[in-house]
Subunit: 443 residues, 2 copies
């Protein structure tokens, strides 16, 4: 069930407006495109108290669009469409919605002028094509929503009963900008002070299984009307808190209260919020300690280096690394001993530890982080099944190695192994940054 | 428009069955989950001549599910639902569809027994929970679809007019297996010999812009009824050919004919089909030449190594690499000269060439591949804007460096840079494998 509005008396009552989404395009029905627009729209609208109560996807057919949008309008009085606004024959949204409202399409001169000027400004060759003129045809009474990233303008159409359809383009970049810059302010203005905001806040945890997280926080009493959902993924378990009420700020305050009750029970496992990457926090901790880092990777083949360097500005603390996929590279570049390889095998805490030490030394970094494991599908032995991964960290203050058993396919195991190495690294950076000795090493 | 059936006389006429999909779950409406199930179902069903003519998403409400599935059944006579089959209070699909068909829910003993046996087999603690008993409640006349990957069985329900609803779980892994192993054979048996198959075939190209591809193949006449779509992405431009007719084999033959007309005009840019990864072909070419490879990466930070090692069994030809994010690592590990760095800068064809040579030498590999560039958002200079990337390859036979200008955000630029390096490597491997000298080097 969608959350119901808070009861009067909690100070958070507010009305939620329901709308529906209709996404348009044969590509969506054929399954060659996954519809990410609908989820994006739902998340953005929730914040201004607009809830999506249903959505439909139809092909590029005037009848189907009119039918689906008509049913949706009947139920809720507000519909957002995406797609079907381009210049080709496949684009049927405008005629379909114009028919639904009983409006004629007419050439809209200012739009045509803007499109022609854009054609010239972008240095496109020849005359403005006749096929594109259809994009300047607008239903009577249309409010034009400008498209900052493309040619097809969006349209807001409203009838005398206040029922409306907002037509947005299907290209995600164009749709997102138009939604944020134009449709949301328009809906916010209509909603006035009575609109309820639906606000979410996500705590990110890593290194602790979902069942243990549930044991830790499952019985904690949260403020009235706050919902808690567990969302496990390869990075860890996200905890999503959701609440609604009048005014984004006051609902956010309720969520802050809720998060404040959970966090002490979660301890070190909480590393961030929203869609924050743990790598960001690690780079900050490295900077705080005045340290640099190097990686040594076997089964992940560069994924750990990729994660750390995905963050803009990482070059001040990430020196680089060695991808030691072959054992000869472990020996030659990372100074892993032949004896450790023979005695313990390439997937062992001993070798992981030597790899971390070797990366640190070879690249002249303060910290070395290593991963060696069996990502599968081949390579398993009786005592080391697929998913066995050894990770290690060495800093100026201490060294640690650890074995983890990860599940999933090759890609998942590699992702989880990378995340496990980051978790171990983060733990060591937290302890060390908090120690006076680590602070001194900054000088 | 969905493609219309071939005209009689082409030998490919056939009837397409339309169905609708209803996906169920508050998570989908709230936008926290993107619905990938619907696209997957559509692609699988197309092959057996079943087209998705519309889809709807509703929340966990009995009324909404009954309403949406009822409308869909009215229009097409066949509906696939996903989600809402679990043991919690949020799972409402069974009662909703049972109500739609006017059937009662009754405890289905064989299902309960199987669930209890599974509970014990998996070593789960304590008694089988009462909450899970609801999963063994089945509508009268239900055909059970077994769940190989989870506890919730799927259900096929049909009325005396032959109208049906197939209820599948929402967890993608469970849904996919049930769809492929059980629902598709069931629908195929119903469809009989008259069903039209909708078949697609995708040619993957890389290294050539979409506009150039369109110049090369846009005017080529394809067999009647074959549609061609250009799908550009960061890996390159995919060309999707789609056709329909009776019998998957005969439609596939038409697509083979169509692909045969396109391929000669696309030359070397075609590297594979479907969702094949270029890395797979590169590993094969390396094996064919008896060569090994090492990478040297600056701005991609390990992504090239990750791409190559993502392929199972890559360890026989990939030795590893150096992530030389810091210039000191370029000098220390890859033997790049201080002079080249000073004269040409880290992002230069000279330095890229020295990195490729250094990786080859340091790791004792036959082939070295290097990437150095400006992924942004920082780091740009007047003559080297964000997106400037230099790539290089060195093999036992020759060396090449090249500069490319890539667009997109940091992540896209890194992906495109990695792909560009793979394109350059593939080109050199193709030439060299075809030469007698390269063949000899295998010994």
């Amino acid at each position: 069930m969608l959350p119901t509005p808070f009861e009067a008396g909690t100070g958070h009552a507010g009305s939620v407006v329901n709308i529906e989404i209709v996404t348009i395009g044969d590509e969506l029905l054929l399954g060659f495109t996954v519809d990410s627009n609908a989820a994006y729209i739902a998340r953005c609208l929730a914040v201004i108290g607009v809830a999506v109560s249903r959505r439909a996807t139809v092909g590029d057919s005037v009848d189907d669009i009119t039918d689906a949008a008509g049913d949706a309008l009947e139920r809720t009085g507000g519909v957002v469409t995406t797609g079907g606004l381009g210049p080709t024959n496949d684009d049927r949204t405008k005629p379909a919605i114009a028919a639904l409202f009983g409006r004629d399409l007419r050439l809209h001169e200012p739009t045509l002028e803007r499109m022609k000027a854009g054609w010239i400004a972008r240095g496109l060759p020849g005359e403005f094509p006749a096929a594109n003129v259809s994009q300047a045809m607008m239903p009577d009474g249309a409010v034009i929503l400008e498209n900052a990233h493309g040619t097809a303008p969006g349209i807001w159409l409203e009838d005398d009963r206040g029922r409306w359809v907002a037509m947005l383009p299907g290209v995600p970049r164009e749709m997102r900008r138009m939604l944020e810059d134009q449709l949301i302010p328009l809906l916010r203005a209509r909603g006035g002070a009575k609109a309820a905001a639906i606000v979410s806040r996500t705590l990110r945890t890593s290194g602790v299984p979902e069942s243990r997280i549930a044991d830790l926080v499952g019985r904690i009493e949260l403020p009235q009307g706050v919902d808690l959902a567990y969302l496990p993924g390869w990075e860890g378990v996200d905890l999503r808190l959701t609440a609604r009420g009048i005014g984004e700020e006051s609902v956010s305050a309720v969520l802050t209260e809720a998060a404040g009750r959970l966090i002490p029970h979660l301890g070190d496992s909480v590393y961030g919020e929203g869609d924050e990457d743990m790598a960001v926090h690690i780079l900050q901790a490295l900077r705080g300690a005045g340290w640099t880092a190097a990686v040594a990777e076997s089964c992940t083949g560069g994924m750990l280096g990729m994660r750390l360097t995905a963050i803009p500005g990482s070059s001040d603390v990430v020196r680089g690394g060695i991808i030691a996929y072959d054992n000869e590279v472990k020996v030659g570049q990372l100074m892993v001993s032949e004896q450790s390889l023979a005695e313990h095998g390439a997937v062992s805490e001993e070798v992981a530890g030597e790899m971390a030490a070797g990366a640190r030394k070879a690249l002249g970094a303060s910290v070395g982080v290593a991963i060696t494991g069996i990502a599968g599908p081949g390579g398993a032995t009786d005592d080391k099944p697929v998913g066995t991964v050894c990770i290690a960290v060495e800093t100026p203050l201490r060294a640690a190695s650890r074995t983890v058993r990860l599940h999933g396919d090759r890609d998942e195991i590699r992702r989880r192994a990378t995340q496990a190495a980051l978790v171990l690294l983060r733990k060591h950076l937290r302890v060390q940054v908090a120690e006076p000795g680590a602070e001194r090493s900054r000088a």
